[in-house]
Amino acid sequence: MSAVDRREFLQLAGGVIVLLTAPPMFAQESGRRPGEGSIPQTLSAWLNIAEDGTITIYTGKVEVGQNARTSLTQAAADELHVPMDSVRLVMGDTDLVPWDMGTFGSRTTPAMAPQIRRAAATARDMLQDLAAEQWSIDRAAVVMGDGKAIHPPTNRSITFGALAKGQKLVQTIRHDESITPPEKWAVAGRSAPKVNAADFVTGKHRYASDVKRDGMLFGKVLRPPAFGATLAALDTTGVSGMAGAAVVRDGNFAGVVAVRPPLAATALGALKPQWKLIPQPSTSATIYDDLRKLTTNELGVRAEGAHFGSLLDGMTDSTYKLERTYTVAYIAHVPLEPRAAVAEWNNGKLTVWTGTQRPFAVRSELAEAFHVPEEKVRVIVPDTGSAYGGKHTGECAFEAARLAKASGRPVRLVWTREEELTWAYFRPAGVIDVRSGIDKEGKLLAWEFHNYNSGSAAIRTPYQAPNQHIEFHPCTSPLRQGSYRGLAATANHFAREAHMDELAAEAKIDPLEIRRRNLNDARLRAVLDAAAERFGWGMTKNGGIACGVEKGGYTATCAEVRIDGSGGVHVTRLVSAFECGAVVNPDQLKNQIEGALMMGIGGALFESVAFQQGRILTDRLSKYRVPRFSDMPRIEVVILDRKDIPSAGAGETPIVGVAPAIAGAIFAATGIRIRALPLVPRGLERANGEPARPGAGQS
């Protein structure tokens, strides 16, 4: 929102408004050039208590199924001492909410919840002052509770709405505002259901793909037959006679709009394009060899604080030494709601409803693409049909806006599943080389770790090793790649934890025991022991275990598998112990952990993107397998609640231990060590009882 728009908003709004002016934390995150973030531009409302008592919170975070709408409502209700249903959240509307970097990296709980608490606490204090003033008493005598200011000695009370009535108060958030510590939470810290769940079970909620505007047309985009292809020529004569359909061409971009979706599909099919292809040598069969050759920098990026000691000395002193390679395939997010956008131009202002994790970044992209100032673009993100890190970008919004601009009408564009599985980005594939040595007690003496392409998240080891070298090697990926739930933490945990298992086997030490011997971190040990205990570690033959730390969350996973007569691998049981500081919403946390485990099963066992000649072969749900009901193991979740530690995010980290725990369980059950994700895309029989070759994948 421009300074002018925001002022208009503030003038319109009555009651009590809590603002933030150029706070250090957000100014730093904004990435704006110096001078650009002057106060009027960043002036923004975080909270409004209207004259009718309605409490509205404004946040740039979006809801994609992680239930941030619920947890942030809890935070506001807690500080204001009101029931949750009296708080309304406006999320991800760039004209109404304060600037935000985006919803990723599990930052909503650790960063946004305290911010909303500060805003709410500021408002609460203002209301307390108003009540004290009205009653001419000391503010300390005013008690705030259940949406009211109360003066117990005289039994007087007044609602927040009545206090806000006739007021025109604006207050800046006090950054030193003390917020309620977890042990005193009254609303947070308890299970609360998804706030607007009724709208989902009745089908009433409108996702971006459900938004309807007057005079709206339906769009389709012409896709090249392969990555990198350019449009050499386009014969549009087939569409010229079609009433109610039109072609939009702009350089390499071509699409159609039509009054009805089937007509749009017919028009798209009537286009006769000529494409210029470029060589696309990499395939899903050669990718791991390719990546090593595609490094962008000879030296790589050394992980901070993880390059010390002497690997040579460590290896020399070691009793058992290992050198192994692990691989991780590209996988797809498959959000059930594909990319979707409805775009509308009105007097030079563009409004787009779209499902994205980064509404303000999409606004910037659109402003730049259409050469308009940012205040001429409004991005609105309705609660979205999931993302998992897969919706950081705004390509669909841009396409819809192009079609809408050219046709002069609002346009709805919903990507097909084929488009989503081809033209979205993927979780990076990767190759990880590990070289290590342990003494005869299983204590690590040397640890060398090189990750090619999949990323540096959680690349450092939580195990104590006196001699280390850990390095990430960025590569030019043949496929478009980007974020994913947990991102590289899954790949790095798979390699690290699988390797710890291999070391344990070399030294004939129990997998749980070798971890304990090398771990000093008490929080990690606590989840490891909790998972092992719940699982009954050592009581089953077919068990695997893994643990790790990422984004402030501590996780340990135990898996049990059953191998059927034809080599099929079934995960029969998963136990997850998780600790992320003070628990905000136990049931929704459990929901996230269960979901992460289910999703993790896919990437662990069978998910993999197949491609050749610049084409995605797994471009339909019938060709890209995702976990289903029959893949569901018995899931047990152990949550360790630490009220003494600030809450960390929890949507991502519980996924990281799934694959290595299952790999360990397969080894325990069969003696087969698999070093590639997915572990068993075609079952175990293809391995012919032989361990998979390092780096070759399961073949």
């Binding site: 259901p193 769940a197 599943r417 976990p627 009901f629 569901m632």
Partner: protein
């Protein structure tokens, strides 16, 4: 284009559409009944599930012409007059969703299943729901919710 007679959630409509147009598209784009979702377009995910004469059907691979003359029930018709169906109540009670995009399809399938098998076992539920994808992984909760819905429905009858 042809004039089709469609019976949707108890109301009879006459509409000029291509009989080959998918029922999903007709419901969403002609009638603005957007609770029925597109997920894959090839009957693999179940997000588009509706009831046709009480039987679950994938509206993405059902033509409007083929559905004409039959009773079509969408998620919007599962709770007429705002009175939630026991399956919907159970989904709320258990919190059997995350992003909610698969939820309408799951509920419509669940309603049909429990009508057919009021005491469906966990195994029967898993089997009947196999054609539905919840990418958020709420599967265990959905099974629990359907078991709870059985209890709700039994209570109502008893």
């Amino acid at each position: 284009m042809a004039a089709l007679e469609l019976l949707i959630n108890g109301t009879r409509f006459r509409i000029d559409v291509d009989p080959q147009q998918s029922l999903l598209s007709v419901l969403r784009d002609e009638f603005d009944l957007t609770g029925t979702k597109y997920g894959c377009g090839e009957a693999q995910c179940g997000a588009c599930t509706v009831l046709i004469d009480g039987q679950p059907a994938r509206s993405c691979v059902t033509t409007a012409g083929g559905a004409a003359g039959h009773a079509i029930t969408t998620i919007e018709g599962i709770a007429p007059a705002g009175q939630l169906h026991p399956v919907q109540k159970a989904f709320l009670e258990i919190g059997a969703m995350q992003c909610g995009y698969c939820t309408p399809g799951m509920i419509v399938e669940g309603v049909a299943l429990l009508r057919r098998r009021p005491e469906a076992t966990e195994g029967e539920i898993t089997e009947a729901m196999e054609g539905h994808v919840c990418r958020c992984g709420a599967y265990p909760r959905i099974v629990t919710a359907l078991r709870l819905a059985e209890q709700f429905m039994k209570g109502k009858q008893g």
